[in-house]
Amino acid sequence: MTDAAAAPQSNTATAAPEMLSWDSKSRRVVMLYVPLACFLLILLFPFYWMTVTAFKPNAELYDYATHNPFWITSPTLDHIRHLLFNTSYPHWLWTTMLVSIAATFLSLLSSTLAAYAIQRLRFRGSQYVGLAIYLAYLVPPSILFIPLATMVVRLGLFDTPFALILTYPTFLVPFCTWLLIGYFKSIPYELEECALIDGASRLQILRQITLPLAIPGLISAGIFSFTLSWNEFIYALAFIQSSENKTVPVAILTELVTGDVYQWGALMAGSLLGSLPVAIFYSFFVDYYVSSLTGAVKE
């Protein structure tokens, strides 16, 4: 019994240094870089496909027998030219931008006030209000768009950007409120008590202490809202009818598919240009974004 116990012990003792050296180099490659590379490949392939298709002439696009589907031999700007000058694409882009920014701003404003009140003022029933807001988030848009459509029409907002600006907060506000409640929780309450003694009012505390410290949280809530609004499909499809008021995701699908003909080149060019603003937006704030999801306020 004692021998059996001692034997594996000595084995591990001698094996340990070897394992350590393996741990430092090869193991990192196998455990870290190879999975990362696979991950990256899978994630970036759609973008690559989109880009390649956008610059491919139709002859190459529809003939994979003689042309390599993964490569372009004679790149062209025809699809982009068609998109920009023969369709209302610039106008779609502008509408999408306007709707996304306005909806994001509205949602952030109300979520900030809601989250602060729920987390810090702790009024009677604040927990239930928080829960109710979260439950609202669980109602799927595919159910909600029918009653919302009635309201939009009655208010005379049908086929205007306001139809979207005012309905997007229905899913943005719950989401942002919950994100911000979590973030406000990470800001030490003592800072606010100290400001209270220093003579600040509630609004001054919110504006001068809490919000500046919650900037990473606000930015990530903003990015989420912007992206969700930018990509939103079902409300945009239901509440907008005229071609020029459409948002990019809806427009490229309804305007660039003529009959049963998919204009793949223009479709992909439209998707590519449409995804660029979001990607640029993300890249600016990625640090804040990560810190808001992982870290707290450091003094």
Binding site: E190, E193, C194
Partner: protein
């Protein structure tokens, strides 16, 4: 500068009673330390004085004005928090000027006040730094600077030194005391560390379980503790408290040791108290077996077993014994404390 009166202050959280009617009178310019084990209600009392907790019963007056329903900003107080609560996104200068900025003070007055406070605290060179660029002691000073610039009637400190290392704690302790003497501002200071309380206070208020056990000058508490709790809490190393009864011409502890009593001792005594530093090495003393010897340099602490009773002695002499050796000690009879069966001091 002002007096602070706490009269029958009560605090209830839901069904939990935190404070059971507390009375404290604080004179103008006095340095009062609230001390007690964690959960005794000392921080709650301080926060009630600050206006951060509402008062469930009784009243609190600052400078003769009852402030029960006065918001914190109108109480004319300044508070230093345990983790300093410096605004992380503001520089030292902005941190110190924040309260004046809210009060819309003119820029030159603000600058002057900040400079003055920075000079007192040795922060002149750090005014443009952010809190994260400061050491623990510097942050502590900024927190005090923020309090000083306001010229409050009362300073409130909530365990301000507990996040500092031992050496810095001793240094900041003297700095705070010196500052308080210089500014002569009424100060209420909360700590769980009885050494801080002893060294800094004009008046110590010992709290336990939401009640005040004893209040008075540090040495009065040390010399005449009112009950077993205060006797065990004030003083380091703690007083030997030995349960037993008066018998056989002395005090017979439950562990079987027979200790000498001062003349005219009360026969009701149920606990015999003697501070380690009031035991002396004496050839005619009680014999005990050494359990542990702990030299600190300036003195030697010795744990002795007499019968089944363990007592600790602290001697100026260097005790050469080893565990198992015999040692004779005698209590200084004029400094023996006797407590009755109810735990209160016997006259």
């Amino acid at each position: 500068m002002a007096t602070v009166s706490v009269r029958q202050a009560k605090k209830v959280f839901g069904s939990t009673k935190i404070l059971h009617g507390v009375d404290v009178e604080i004179a103008d310019g006095e340095f009062v330390v609230l001390v007690g084990p964690s959960g005794c209600g000392k921080s709650t009392l301080l926060r009630m004085i600050a206006g951060l907790e509402n008062i469930s019963g009784g009243e609190i007056a600052i400078g003769g004005r009852v402030v029960n329903n006065v918001p914190p900003k109108d109480r004319d107080i300044a508070m230093v928090f345990q983790n300093y609560a410096l605004y992380p996104h503001m520089t030292v200068r902005e941190n110190m000027a924040f309260s004046m900025k809210l009060a819309k003070a003119p820029a030159d007055v603000m600058e002057e006040e900040v400079k003055r406070a920075a000079k007192i605290l040795g922060l002149d060179a750090l005014l443009d730094r952010y809190p994260r660029q400061l050491s623990g002691g510097q942050r502590q000073r900024v927190a005090m600077g923020r309090a000083i610039v306001r010229h409050p009637q009362v300073f409130l400190f909530d365990e301000p030194l507990s996040n500092l290392d031992a050496k810095l704690r001793v240094q900041m302790r003297s700095e705070i005391k010196e500052l308080q003497q210089r500014l002569a501002t009424t100060t209420i200071y909360v700590t769980h560390d009885q050494i801080e309380a002893m060294t800094m206070a004009d008046q110590i208020v010992v709290m336990n379980g939401g009640r005040i056990e004893q209040a008075g000058a540090p040495l009065a508490l040390y010399d005449r503790p009112a009950n077993l709790f205060v006797a065990g809490f004030i003083g380091s190393p703690a007083m030997n408290l030995l349960p037993g009864r008066v018998a056989d011409g002395g005090f017979r502890t439950d562990g079987g040791a027979l200790l000498p009593l001062p003349p005219g001792a009360n026969a009701q005594a149920a606990t015999y108290g003697i501070r380690p530093e009031h035991l002396m090495l004496a050839d005619d003393g009680v014999e005990g077996t050494i359990v542990l010897v702990e030299p600190t340099g300036s003195e030697t602490q010795v744990t002795l077993r007499i019968g089944e009773t363990q007592i600790i002695g602290a001697f100026r002499e260097r005790v050469q014994g080893r565990p198992g050796d015999l040692l004779r000690v005698a209590p200084d009879l004029s400094l023996v404390h006797l407590f009755g069966p109810d735990g209160n001091r016997l006259p």
